[in-house]
Amino acid sequence: MTTATVQPAQPTPSTQSTAMMSGRYQRAFTVAVLFLVAGWHLAGAGGQMLHNRSAYGGEFTIQVVIWLVMALAIAAGAVLVLRGTPSWRAAWAIALIALAGSTAAAATSPAGQMLAVEWAWASAGWIGVLVLLRRRFSELAWFLAAAALAILSVQAYDGLNRTTLAAFLALLAWSTGAQVAVAAGVRALDVAAGQAAAAARGEDAARERAATAEIIAAARQARWLALQESAAPLIAELAAGTADPGDAHVRIRCAVQAARLRRLMAEGDEVPGSLVHELHASADVAERRGITVEIETAGQLPQVPGPARRVITDAAIAILTAARSQARITLAAVAAGIAVSFVTDTAAVVSLPPAGHGVAIEQQQDGGMLWAEARWNSQ
């Protein structure tokens, strides 16, 4: 008899990639924000600081040190966000360094000109956007509010009037406004990317269902072919009267075919522990002949591939057909595989199916008891 075997469906590469697709988009947005933040700090903030070099007088060195500290904070933030969503501790540590830098830069600016030469506030805001981008939006809002309040406090210490308040509000509108806009934009893009990935996943699932349906159809075809070769001729012989149901040999052939039919049905059910399930199905037929069958397992059983399961259940059918009154089937987890054994009361030497697909079969006849073991090795 030819055995048609069907390979179980493998997860297609595209299924795996759709799961990561949304993640890939998010990373691209993160990199874009990173370029924006680094670009601003280098060209915008750095340029402004150098341009106003003379206004700082003796405090210029301090400004440069603060600029360098914030550049380091951006580098650390970049490492963090490229590794995934940072923890709140790490994100807020960097955000607080940026906030301190911005406040210190404002406090060491020449009085009266602070808002005119201010560069660090915007840098701090951008750093906040970078590290808090994928945390709750309220966290970023609190951070930006704190940074603005710190600047306002420094200005209030220097003296607040209509002109300085207007300058403060103008700066707030353009820098904090831009930061909020970018953060909200990335959020919207994240959502869109998630939806795109979900749509792609849905398409993939449909493709996979179609492939599974094909596999099931092929398996059905294989089963039909198997029956054509074994059960159909026997039924035809019985119908034509050329096979005599009174003949012991014919009855054994019937028992074997009944067990195979039962197993074919069980093979359709893809359940965990398929082997135990299929052995139960094989045992069912023997139990209907009045044979007591007990099935026991020991340990965590590995999954046995289809072709190897078939060798084992073929052996089970051969042995159970020979059983006189009782049989014990055990499945035990052994190093690198599984040992399926059969102990039954028969004096007959059972012709067992050929070993193969990683299954080795041994038997021992001992005083009217048959012991056989099918050992599948995963290596």
Partner: protein
């Protein structure tokens, strides 16, 4: 002739109690004598007269698992043979760890209960197939190390062979098969929670030559590492 072993049967289903009594009666040597039957453990302590040597304990009484009561029974001097419909390896292991001598599943009762009671009374190991199964399935980090021969003997015994057949399969004598299986059981008596029944089983196993003291010292230290770290480290 030796005195029969006295036994108390603690079982909440009368029909099972009757079954157990009939197995005991049908023993040709009449080696076991029931002195008490009770439906719960309170019935055991309330009973007058000399206490039984062995308690056959159904692990589930009135719907409750009584495995945690085993240490108290063992401390009171009883030898406990658990007799249960629960064949879950974890329960079997807990039962043995709590100091029960042997575990007999309800299916194994007819063939093994009387022998298990006699072995318990003599502090000798008795390993049923369900016990072998639990040992084979044991994956706890603190489990004792069994030799390949011990494992193979346990596996073939679990599979359903007679000990004589196991011997022929492994090309060793039936006596050596018993030795391997008993040694595996004795190694378990050297691990886990201390109990007088385990000490008695170990002592007897050493006297009988089933196990050498050297075989068990590492496992004792493994079970109680804080007591004396200088005793050989587990390998």
């Amino acid at each position: 002739m030796e005195q029969p072993v006295t036994v108390a049967i603690i079982e909440d289903h009368p029909v099972v109690t009757e079954g157990v009594e009939s197995w005991i009666r049908s023993d040709p040597g009449q080696r076991v004598r029931p002195v008490l039957t009770a439906r719960d453990l309170a019935g055991l302590s309330a009973a007058p007269g000399p206490p039984a040597r062995v308690v056959i304990l159904d692990l589930e009484l009135s719907g409750e698992l009584v495995t945690t009561q085993i240490p108290a029974l063992v401390a009171a001097g009883y030898r406990v043979v658990a007799f249960s419909g629960h064949s879950d390896p974890a329960i079997v292991m807990e039962t043995l760890d709590n100091g029960a001598h042997a575990y007999v599943s309800k299916e194994e009762g007819r063939d093994h209960l009387v022998e298990a009671v006699l072995a318990a009374a003599a502090d000798r190991p008795y390993v049923t197939r369900s016990q072998a199964r639990a040992i084979l399935a044991d994956q706890r980090p603190a489990r004792p190390a069994l030799s390949e021969q011990e494992q193979q003997a346990l596996l073939l015994w679990f599979q359903g062979m007679s000990k004589a057949s196991v011997g022929r399969r492994m090309s060793i004598s039936e006596n050596t098969v018993r030795q391997y299986i008993s040694r595996a059981r004795a190694k378990y008596a050297a691990t886990g929670r201390p109990a007088p029944s385990k000490d008695a089983l170990l002592t007897r196993a050493i006297e009988d030559g089933v196990i050498k003291p050297a075989d068990i010292i590492p496992y004792q230290s493994f079970a109680r590492p804080a007591a004396d770290p200088s005793l050989g480290a587990p390998d």
